[in-house]
């Protein structure tokens, strides 16, 4: 028997390791346009100690290790570009502690967002976490590894700003904790110890996140989604600015899409609000609509699309079936809100060039401090020509984002190179030093964020 396979079997048990073609094939595929990349082994550890042992084994063998959560980045960020071991972390899915009073929950990082939502709904209905737009199977750890955002981005920022502590297996196998948990206390704060934050947004290149203390926020009794529609994209930034000034919303998104046709070229501003009473909800609604949006209606440039729509949590996405092709990928970026009109215009032009109905979305992060803007390109998985078009559109968009002055969010390797090409040399060298210091053998998700 292959000695590495035998060692992995010894660590995780026979049922949770494979080097058979069928498993390797499955883990070679990303859901987006990335070309397949085959691992040599797949293992699904259950404990942090097992993760640590696997990483130590990989260092001995100079084998790559690629941590995988829900596998829903769509940008190929958990594809084994240099083979090695793909670590499926979804068996590490336990809820370890819920502290209602201090509003945090400690979970193993392979837990799905859907499970956290369901658990809170049942055991702490007055609390919620920020749920990303990805399907419910996306994991907490995976989302932090890409600096995800969710449906509480407007009041509280990035999901990776909403943590009170981390446990990480370093690329050399040591298990480290960060935050109050590092000094043996409860997991109630990440600050004020010296900043050692080297793991968020690194796509697993600097370590494997295994436990997370997630901040929770008030979940109010009544929740609704309202919709305001404008035709002029130039109005979107000022509307968002006004709405974020009053701070009544939990989530603000602007969406424009070619299909269905009645929505083509319109900009739908979705606003989630909540209240513990109908009066509170009505108060917020009045502040938003009467206080801020009425004048656009009076001027004949805006209209109410819907009020009081039910909010589905977890959100269910049907994007992959838009073209009945089973595939889509998007470029995400973080841009100033003022970029919305240009992002929309340029994006729809790129889509038109590739024969793909345009779909763009901007989610407000913070109080108009930024916006996650995405351009989605659907393709037919069974039609290679459409996949090629989507891939080219993605690359064009990557370049366009940087030309506009935006910052790519969770870029694929292609986009990472564009970012690093523009990066300040000193910053780039520091990235290189950090990576080498933590991962001297270069085994952690190699090929990603790799400074030449």
């Amino acid at each position: 028997m292959d000695s590495i396979y035998a060692a992995l079997m010894d660590i995780v048990g026979e049922d949770y390791v494979s080097n058979q073609t069928e498993e390797l094939f499955t883990y070679s595929k990303d859901l987006g346009t990335s070309e397949p990349q085959w691992p040599d082994y797949v293992a699904a550890p259950k404990t942090v100690e097992q993760v640590s042992r696997i990483v130590k084994l990989a260092n001995e063998q100079k084998l790559a290790v690629v941590p995988l959560g829900g596998g829903l980045s769509l940008a190929g960020l958990a594809l084994p570009l240099r083979g090695g071991i793909t670590l499926d972390l979804k068996r590490m899915d336990q809820i370890l502690e819920l502290n209602e009073q201090s509003r945090y929950i400690v979970v193993e990082a392979g837990i799905s967002h859907g499970k956290v939502t369901a658990y809170l709904h049942k055991h702490a209905p007055r609390l919620m976490h920020s749920e990303p737009g990805a399907p419910a199977a996306a994991t907490i750890g995976g989302n932090l590894a890409i600096h995800g955002q969710g449906d509480l981005a407007h009041p509280y920022g990035f999901n990776s700003d909403m943590i009170n502590g981390l446990e990480v297996v370093l690329p050399t196998g040591e298990i480290c904790r960060f935050g109050s948990c590092a000094i043996g206390n409860d997991w109630y704060t990440l600050h004020p110890l010296p900043d050692l934050q080297l793991f968020l947004g690194w796509s697993g290149c600097t370590g494997i996140i295994t436990k997370v203390s997630l901040r929770l926020f008030p979940c109010k009794k009544f929740q609704e989604q309202d919709l305001f529609i404008v035709q002029d994209e130039n109005l979107v930034p000022e509307i968002i600015y006004e709405m974020t000034h009053i701070g009544m919303a939990e989530d603000i998104m602007a969406i424009s899409q070619e299909i269905p046709p009645p929505f083509n070229r319109l900009h739908c501003i979705l606003v989630n609000i909540s209240g513990d009473s109908k009066e509170e909800l009505e108060f917020k609604r009045q502040l938003i609509f009467d206080g801020k949006l009425a004048r656009y209606i009076e001027d004949g440039v805006g209209g109410i699309g819907a009020v009081g729509q039910k909010i589905e949590r977890p959100q269910v996405s049907k994007t992959s079936d838009w073209r009945k092709g089973g595939g889509f990928e998007y470029v995400g970026s973080i841009v100033p809100v003022s970029y919305y009109p240009e992002c929309y215009r340029r994006g729809s032009e790129i889509s038109a060039r590739h024969g793909i109905p345009y779909t763009v979305l901007g989610r407000v992060v913070g109080s108009s401090h930024g916006m996650m803007f995405s351009w989605t390109y659907a393709f037919n998985r069974a039609d290679e020509e459409t996949v090629r078009h989507a891939r080219e559109a993605l690359h064009e968009t990557d370049r366009m984002v940087l030309e506009l002055g935006g910052t790519l969010w969770k870029p694929a390797v292609f986009g990472q190179k564009l970012v690093m090409d523009r990066m300040d040399p000193n910053t780039l060298q520091m990235m290189k030093k950090v990576k080498h210091l933590l991962d001297p053998n270069g085994i952690m998700n190699p090929g990603n964020w790799e400074v030449a």
């Binding site: 049922d15 094939f25 699904a44 596998g71 996405s317 089973g326």
Partner: protein, 392 residues
Amino acid sequence: MAQTQYKYMDMIHRCFRCGYCKFPQDWEDVDNCPAYARHRLESHSNGGRLWLIRAWITGELELTDHLAEIIYSCVACKNCEEKCPLSFSDDILNMVIAARAEMVAQGRIPSPVKTYLKNIQLHGNPYGIGAKKRSDWMQELSIEPFEKQEFLFFVGSEGAYDSRAQHAARALSRLFQKAELSFGVLGNDETDDGNEVELLGEEGLVEMLAEKNIASFNERGIKNIITLSPHAYNALKNIYPRFGGSYQVYHYTQILPNLIQSGRLHPPKLENTTITYHDPCFLGRWNREYTAPRRVLQAIGGSKLIEMDRNRKSAFCCGGGSGNYYTDLLGGSDDSPARIRARQAHATGATILAVACPNCLTMLEDAVKVEGLEGKIQVKDIAELIDGESAS
């Protein structure tokens, strides 16, 4: 496999592997697909399975023993179809079954599946026991063969041959007799219902079984049929019309409430008993019957019915569907579906786990033993609970 042969070629690429199919209705966890819960590798999730099938169809992968095992590890519980939000969701299982049909045609199926199908071909039951022993289960019960009675009692292979399921069949027969229900049986003229054979992809054998049973039904002028097994219920109700056999088909839990309500049956009192009910996939998700079995259980005096977290549309399958109660492709682990389900039942604090399916009965009773829960929770068919006689 030639792409033109595969019926769902224009659809199978539409699975995105988003993972919704792994969840129960309330999103409690990603483990409501029995095969995925057992293996926890993406290859055994439903999305993984569809991608593997497509890779085989397009020639990207060869058909291997391992691939066949993965494709046959789906127990057809329909959780995926219930949860997938996309427009092709009603055909998810059909995509798997169509792939199995091609594997059958090529003779490349897992060995236990081969034995299962061969036994049915030879003996009309998966156990490999002679067809002439099919009516042995009822020897002491004076059950009449069907002539002109109101109902045919279709016992099914499990009730006829499996020693544990036989007890449920006998209990149900006694109930019918106590209630003076006009019923008869086919005896040795009954053959396997073919439900699992259909799911395993043996299209020719399904047709043969259905035609044989339909001929028996029609010769006797049978109009109304009661089944012990939800699997037989599904076959007779939903598969047999394809072969020209249309009858009024009932699962026995749909008959008992009226017999109780009309005073023809008197459920026993089970003082200080808590019962939890396991929805069988072929009664629940396949045929939307969630109420009737609960009505029967609620008629048991002195007992309290408590639900598992995963119930009705979200019920976690025992892992016995698609012939797996015999082929056991998901066995051998702490996380074999039946063991997970036994733990879920025990977690409710119930002392009785009620079932309405002979496959679930045998799967879960074995699991209770392996889990060391004997003496803490008993697995009982609803018919046995109403009959009140202890399992022999």
